[in-house]
Symmetry: C2
Subunit: 376 residues, 2 copies
């Protein structure tokens, strides 16, 4: 296992790339989907089960962890990997996005953000410097620069002003991060859906220099068409030899569209959150397991899926345990969803390596167009 952080592209197909990120805690196969372990757990899953789905890396949320159990406590307990029993790579976000979306009573200045905890109302301060310190205490392998993402709708002037502050914060993040061999710092491009602002942001980040580059400020309500519009050009503003991470994406078709456009990494709560609300994702689209049509259906969710939910249980069982409010419902559906998302990533990687991404995407779309299996 290497002690250095490094990224290698092994094959390309159009703008899509496949490769590996080397870290001291293990290899990340790209394009990679990162399950979200907000509060030091991927909800409804044991970490060995998350690994069994094929995940190489998890995302942890700085905002949640700094509030509960607290970054200093995690550090005293040996760091986040040991705390949550996940020895492979962890990426932590900077806390910036979630402060704006989850906390109360915020005050934003050039220095940083003062906010009230959604857990107990206590006052906290996040800045590039404190975010770097917290992510260091957590022990994350991939640290995200502290940024700000303006709430939509926003004028071009607001988006530009916010992006420029984020770029100043990116420089402060870089300075505060220092030199940490084996750990990586990623900058975050902002600029909304405006090409010039995206380009300006990318140039600012490249000037500072990062180990990887995230595309932030998308998947925040702008819609898939607008998102793909940005992804048609934004990855091209970033260095070829560094990973590109699209934050907070997404649905299976968002993922495919992003990979086709040159994205290497993604994260989303969707597979786990959907699993807990009775929503399953399969190659033939979305299935709402609480629908009465499943009550007597002896067939698996997806006959071609090898996950525990599909190999061990009928739709009738999954329907029954969801309706009965049983925890196994969230456990099995989350497992299935994460399995499907990872299988999709593996398929994308193999197709890029084989130079057959167009055929893979056509097959992906054809299966989705079939819709769920016929009623009994």
């Amino acid at each position: 296992m290497t002690q250095r952080f490094a990224f290698h592209v092994s094959a390309t197909d159009g703008r899509a790339r496949t490769g590996t990120i080397q870290t001291p805690r293990g290899e990340i196969r790209t394009p990679a989907f990162m399950p979200v372990g907000t509060a030091a757990t991927v909800k409804a899953m044991l970490p060995e089960s998350v690994r069994a789905t094929g995940a190489d890396i998890l995302l942890g949320n700085t905002y949640h962890l700094m509030l509960r159990p607290g970054a200093e406590r995690v550090a005293r307990l040996g760091g986040l990997h040991r705390f949550m029993n996940w020895q492979r790579p962890i990426l932590t976000d900077s806390g910036g996005f979630q402060v704006m979306s989850l906390s109360g009573l915020r005050k934003l200045t050039e220095e940083g953000v003062t906010f009230a905890s959604h857990v107990d109302g206590s006052r906290h301060f996040l800045s590039p410097e404190t975010s770097m310190q917290i992510q260091r205490l957590l022990g994350s392998d991939i640290v995200m620069a502290f940024d700000e993402c303006p709430a939509l709708p926003a004028t071009d002037a607001e988006v530009a002003a916010s992006m420029r502050m984020s770029m100043r914060w990116a420089q402060r993040s870089r300075d505060a991060f220092g030199d940490r061999p084996g750990h990586a710092l990623f900058g975050i491009m902002q600029g909304g859906v405006t090409r010039d602002l995206r380009q300006e942001s990318a140039e600012a980040l490249r000037g500072i220099g990062f180990d990887g580059y995230a595309i932030g400020g998308l998947a925040v309500g702008e819609g898939q068409e607008a998102m793909f519009g940005v992804l048609d050009y934004a990855p091209g503003f970033l260095p070829e030899d560094k990973p590109r991470y699209l934050m907070g994406v997404g649905k299976p078709d968002d993922i495919v569209g992003a990979v086709v456009r040159g994205v290497d990494m993604m994260d989303c709560v969707l597979p786990s959150r959907s699993g807990r609300t009775g929503q399953a994702w399969t190659r033939r689209g979305q299935v709402n397991i609480k629908n009465a049509r499943h009550a007597d259906d002896p067939r698996p969710l997806d006959a071609d899926c090898t996950c525990p939910a599909c190999t061990g249980y009928s739709r009738a069982y999954l329907h029954h345990v969801f309706r009965s409010g049983e925890m196994i419902s969230g456990m099995l559906l989350t497992w299935h969803n994460l399995h499907y998302f990872q299988e999709l990533m593996a398929g994308l990687r193999a197709a890029i390596a084989a130079g057959s991404l167009d055929a893979f995407v056509a097959d992906f779309e054809a299966k989705r167009a079939q819709g769920d299996i016929d009623p009994l």
Copy 2:
């Protein structure tokens, strides 16, 4: 694997016995603790994890399953084993006890009980004949006779009248069960805490003839001393060559006291229910993981335990995920509790086989007397 139901005692130590129950679906090592899978799931566990704790058999609740998803539906879907993905033996209760404790609007006659579902208020009827039919539809390996357990407090006359009706119901259960090779029917002794009534009940059951005999009507609020008082004589009223099943028991010290008194099988929701409310059971007693003293404790729940919760996580983590309302809290603590209960049963079996049960019990009590580990 045998196609017949059979019980063999391989060793005794005082009144305690160890042996095996053979069934077409596998062997049950006795004394056995049966985790409860009320609604076709042991809450917060996958069935392969339940098996990994050492469970040979599960209990399913006829009352819950007949209401949701319905016994006919389970039968159409291939039976309860296939439905819930547990291929080993299942014992189902008769529904009698839970109708009285959970349902609404009951009417009890010699014929049976009419009641309203706690799920949707719909009207249902349970009798010895319908209970046998439902348990057959579910496909359970060990079927319980339909009985009635009077609510406490009750006069001796009320307990006697109820017991005698249960004995008439036992005969009707036997008649309705018929001849089902490989499946067993257990009678249930009633009679409260009155020795003469317990003896009368046992004689009635022996006269009918069953594959096993349960001791019912205990662990319903009479207290451990009164329960042990009955267990000092009641198992002796039952045939030596058939399994004796104490229903609804219990805490670890209840289990040890029951095994010492000649009980072969038990069931209880305690390990799984406790796990979901932050209560852990260890060889040193009960631990309330939500207590603030665990927040910074890097030690496992029980350093000598080999379950996933104890080998992978600190008390601090278990405390954090409980306080954060994360599902992994119930998943890990339930697993630990079931593991501990099964380890206790394995220890009891080994001690009986070795003729060292007294020493085992002394050690069990000494460890409990130590109490939980010292605060940090």
